[in-house]
């Protein structure tokens, strides 16, 4: 299967600031995905984040598909301000637009201030060519799998 998927940016609330006093919203490349483990499946929002090395999701989402989160392999990683965060990695499946693929994804209790999971380089960008068109609010995903 070689899907060509199209999504719209999602507009989230934003707080105006001294730097951007008229900014009341933020458009972000956030898409619905499913986290799948065996027969269990949860739909969840995730941002396509080219700055993230890996895919990281909320620990609570892992628990919904039956993971004992802390039994996974530990990775300590750095947030943007240098703070150390922890994620536990598990083999799961992700579904995007009807296309399912395997992913070794991290589940973390340290991202609770984020509204969505992170789709990063390994686990997402290695599988899809991603075209962002911010001005049109469009995202296009093309699978690299030509099978």
């Amino acid at each position: 299967m070689s899907p060509n998927l199209k999504y719209d940016y999602r507009k989230f609330p934003a707080e105006p600031s001294d730097a951007f006093p008229r900014r009341f919203s933020a458009s972000r490349p956030v898409i619905p995905i499913s986290i799948i483990r065996g027969e269990l499946r949860v739909r969840y929002l995730a941002i396509i984040d080219s700055g993230a090395d890996l895919c990281i999701f909320h620990a609570e989402i892992g628990e919904l598909v039956g993971l004992a989160v802390e039994s996974g392999k530990l990775l300590r990683f750095n947030g943007i301000s240098g703070q150390q965060l922890a994620a536990y990695f598990h083999d799961i499946k992700i579904e995007v637009g009807g296309y399912e693929f395997d992913c070794c994804a991290g589940f973390s209790r340290d991202i609770s201030n984020l509204p969505y999971g992170l789709l990063g380089q390994l686990g997402f960008f290695n599988l899809f060519n991603v075209l962002f068109d911010y001005n049109k609010g469009k995202i296009e995903l093309k699978s690299k799998n030509n099978a």
Partner: protein, 64 residues
Amino acid sequence: MVENIDLREVLKGYSNKWVALSTDSSRVVGVADNPKEALEQARMSKEQSPILTKAPQNYGTFIL
């Protein structure tokens, strides 16, 4: 595919909660302190394919 998905009004007032959105993201079908309860509420409202998200304490600017 839903066009121009605007979550500003939909997510208003759910600070620090887990929110289950309807399949088209146009309304909230469950809200709770944890995603399991939010999902249960969504399923009780017969929503076939709810989408979970976490409403943060405040929607500031994210640099990821």
